[in-house]
């Protein structure tokens, strides 16, 4: 340790921060670069692909007009920067959503290195070794700052390489970095306020969601509501207007706010005891509910929070997608826009193509959530909680399949709710049949989601250490599904992804054999994983 002898460090000090920072960066040496590459790569690919679709300025103008006229689109993605300038249209869909993603990553990073360390009892260890009180917070903050800076530089470089001007590229990338910075500050503060890492993460992520929704209302209503865009940290990026007026000074707001939040976090930290938060846990039940009886009950209890949030998000996205489709008229006047939409979904009816694209997106998102739920088994094993269950009369296969089953069921519920919500807002006279039709259409993606669930479970079943690899594979499948068709990937690449083999409804053909084959392969994979899990050591 760089600190003096134990006890010599004063309470309010940064001593040992350098060591902690190096350790934190080491722990993030794979995760953060991969995240940065994924975000920057997505932006660059979108810039390259979308601009190729809009060679004619007139058609560009038509698309711009359609977007600006639709409150639903404005709410979902924010306004276009600089009347259809190069890059603006390409990155329109990514601006706010990418910023939100960067914000969530920043939250996860800072909580992982502050509250989660404290929950694990390691902060106490570090403190007793002479590290100052402020050192963990500072190290986590600097780790997140490194992420934000890296994201900004890499994304800007990637966009410039994709053919955008350096000014717009840098300004756009900086809106992502700024969002990461602000929410790193939010995460540092909730880490001090909350009593546990889980609560800290939840509070800060709710902050991201709130910021997204506040600016959504501001953008959709426009006019006098622009103040709602200004109060939302995710609205600042829009105000930078990276491809239009380019207000660089707005980019000074995020660092200033982040520093203020850091100060607040340190103030709380100085005042509270290690291992506690400002929010005190309420006492709970003294006896378990009858539902909490076996591995399934436990898995439901563990995952219900995740699935509740995800299902709510699916309901919102589904509803927005449904209402957007009923406003597609103006937007689809452009031949090029028509091509954009059909490129996303195939040669179906226009509004159906849009829904197919949205349901595909929902299926990708659902498979990520389901994979996260399945891979919770790894955390159960690592913590020793799996030992507690498996040293009771519970077979390994039963425990394994309980987690897989609960995760899969959660994925189905999410898809069904997303589809039903789209049906409610899409249909007018025939709402009932629309709900049934679109619920079924969304559920047609289920085999792909189940496939990802089984694949994740099998990876875990083979070896707990394979979990990072499992995430890479899942991310690869989702990326191929989302970007492969747009980028014209060769068909053998597309065929690797289960999302290619499910019916693309509404409108597409239903290939029963392909569906059954996907499900059969999924079951075999899960069976192999379960068998391997029964044999291997728990560690």
């Amino acid at each position: 340790m760089t600190g003096g002898p134990p006890g010599a460090a004063t309470l309010q000090s940064w001593t040992g921060g350098g060591v902690l920072l190096r350790r934190a960066l080491h722990r993030e040496r794979v995760r953060l670069p991969v995240t940065v590459a994924a975000l920057a790569g997505t932006a660059a690919l979108s810039a390259a692909a979308t601009d190729a679709l809009y060679v004619d300025p007139a058609e560009r103008g038509a698309a711009v007009g359609a977007i600006t006229a639709s409150p639903a689109l404005l709410a979902m993605y924010g306004p276009l920067s600089g009347d259809g300038a190069a890059g603006a249209l390409a990155l329109w869909k990514l601006g706010v959503l990418g910023a939100a993603a960067a914000a969530v990553v920043a939250v996860l990073v800072v909580v992982r290195h502050t509250r989660a360390e404290e929950d694990g009892g390691r902060t106490e260890l570090v403190a007793s070794a002479g590290a100052g009180r402020w050192a963990p917070t500072a190290a986590a903050g600097l780790t997140a700052t490194t992420f934000a800076a890296g994201l900004t530089l890499v994304t800007a470089t990637a966009l410039a390489a994709a053919g955008l001007g350096w000014g717009g590229a840098l300004a756009f990338a900086a809106t992502w970095g700024g969002a990461a910075l602000v929410f790193a500050g939010v995460g540092l503060l909730t880490a001090e306020i909350a009593g546990s890492a889980r609560v800290a993460t939840t509070l800060a992520v709710l902050g991201v969601v709130a910021a997204y929704l506040v600016r959504a209302v501001g953008d959709a209503t426009g006019g006098t509501s622009t103040w709602m865009v200004w109060v939302s940290p995710l609205g600042w990026g829009e105000r930078v207007d990276p491809f239009g007026a380019r207000h660089w000074w707005v980019l000074a707001i995020p660092p200033a706010v982040a520093l203020t939040l850091l100060g607040a976090a340190l103030a709380v930290r100085g005042r509270r005891d290690l291992g506690t938060g400002l929010l005190h846990a309420r006492p709970g039940r003294a006896e378990a509910s009858p539902l909490l009886r076996g591995p399934v009950g436990l898995a439901v209890h563990r995952e219900r929070g995740l699935f509740a949030v995800a299902t709510a998000a699916f309901a919102v996205v589904g509803a927005v997608a449904g209402s957007v489709t009923s406003q597609l008229g103006g937007m689809l006047d452009s031949v090029r826009m028509r091509q954009v939409v059909t490129a996303l979904g195939g040669a179906h009816a226009m509004s159906d193509a849009f829904l197919v694209a949205e349901f595909g997106l929902l299926a990708s998102a659902a498979s990520l959530v389901v994979a996260a739920a399945v891979l919770r088994m790894a955390a159960e094993e690592r913590s020793g909680r799996a030992d507690a269950v498996l040293s009771a009369p519970v077979g390994r296969a039963r425990w394994f399949l309980a987690h897989l089953g609960v995760a899969a069921a959660g994925g189905l519920v999410m898809l069904a709710v997303g589809g039903a919500a789209a049906g409610v807002t899409h249909g007018t006279a025939t709402t009932g049949t629309e709900v049934v039709r679109l619920t079924a259409a969304a559920l047609a993606q289920a085999p792909a989601v189940l496939f990802v669930a089984c694949l994740a479970a099998a990876g875990y079943g083979l070896a707990r250490r394979s979990v990072p690899l499992v995430w890479l594979v899942v991310a690869g499948l989702v990326t191929v599904a989302e970007l492969g068709p747009v980028l014209g990937a060769p068909s053998w690449v597309l065929d690797l992804s289960p999302f290619t083999h499910v019916p693309h409804l509404p409108g597409g053909a239903v290939d029963v054999a392909a569906v059954l084959a996907t499900l059969a392969v999924a079951i075999v994979i899960a069976g192999v994983g379960a068998a391997a899990f029964r044999q291997r050591d728990l560690a």
């Binding site: 546990s196 709970g284 378990a288 909490l292 498996l390 009771a392 009369p393």
Partner: protein, 306 residues
């Protein structure tokens, strides 16, 4: 299995080997626990106690050796065996958003229900607040939750991995009483520890391991044969010579006070010699387990000091 081993031997392990990568955590370990006893399983940190217990639970697979638990195969018969045994891990980790009471009931439900009256009594005796969420529990409280869950289920064999680490002295004492009651009810207990006094007071028999091998096994009186009694005597006359007595190891002489370690066989000869010089005050300390332990683990220092 061989016919001379009765099916009801709770734990019968011979020549157990378990490797993690290239290091052998267990290297030919033997462990036999008899029906109805509290068996102390002792070794320094890293000697392989937890690894052995996890093999018994079927959580990890042995590389070699003979392992029978309650007459069954730890891995193949895991589910049936686990109905008859309960395990408290060394480092108890609980579900952070469940309360202690919920965890106890959940683990009980996995076994098909627990004795509610017994659960309530144990919660009371261990001074546990069952409404606190697990994330707020100290290590000792997490340990109590796991102990209550294990002790209030109706099983034949309790496997406890360093169960008292983190318990405060009052609860520790209560835990010893409870464990004595469990033995009286006919349960078998396998209790690992590096806290020797705890095992010394509780265990009927014990097994001492070191670096994954069994060093000694037996009851405390049996193990005491291994070890020298410490005799401190104040004499009326100058201290006589003892270096001609085999088995007497002179510690120090301060004026007319002599301190020495004595092998059991040499006690009689030493006493005659001392009483000839006139004993004013005599203190005879039987070997504590601590000394047995040190004798096993530091034979060279012992030799050097003798």
């Amino acid at each position: 299995m061989s016919a001379d081993v009765p099916a009801d031997v709770p734990v019968d392990v011979r020549g157990l080997v378990k490797r993690f990568g290239r290091t052998a955590a267990l290297d030919g370990l033997d462990l036999r626990v008899e029906q109805g006893e509290i068996h102390g399983f002792i070794g320094p940190n890293g000697s392989g106690k937890t690894t052995t217990l996890r093999v018994l639970l079927g959580l990890i697979r042995p590389d070699a050796g003979h392992v029978r638990v309650l007459g069954g195969d730890a891995r193949r018969d895991a589910v049936e065996l686990h109905r008859r045994m309960a395990y408290v891990p060394g480092d108890v980790s609980l579900w952070p958003d469940l309360t202690g009471g919920e965890v106890i009931d959940f683990l009980g439900a996995l076994r098909g229900g627990l004795d509610v009256a017994r659960r309530d009594a144990l919660v009371e005796r261990f001074a546990l607040d069952p409404t606190t969420r697990s994330r707020a529990y100290s290590r000792g409280n997490r340990q109590k939750v796991a102990l209550v869950a294990a002790l209030s289920s109706d099983v034949e064999l309790l496997v406890l991995d360093e169960p008292t680490t983190g318990l405060d002295p009052l609860v520790d004492a209560e835990f010893r009483r409870v464990l004595g009651e469990e033995r009286d009810r006919g349960r078998t207990v396998l209790l690992s520890s590096h806290v020797l006094s705890e095992v010394e007071a509780l265990a009927d028999r014990m097994t001492i391991i070191r670096r994954g091998r069994t060093v000694e096994s037996g009851s405390l009186p049996e193990l005491r044969h291994l070890c020298r009694t410490t005799v401190t005597a104040e004499l009326a006359a100058p201290v006589p010579r003892t270096d001609d007595l085999a088995g007497v190891h002179l510690g120090e002489v301060r004026g007319r006070v002599v301190v020495c370690d004595v092998d059991p066989a040499a006690m009689d000869g030493l006493m005659r010699r001392l009483s000839a010089a006139g004993i004013v005050r005599l203190e005879v300390r039987p070997p504590s387990l601590e000394q047995v332990f040190l004798a096993e683990f530091a034979p060279t220092t012992r030799e050097a000091s003798a």
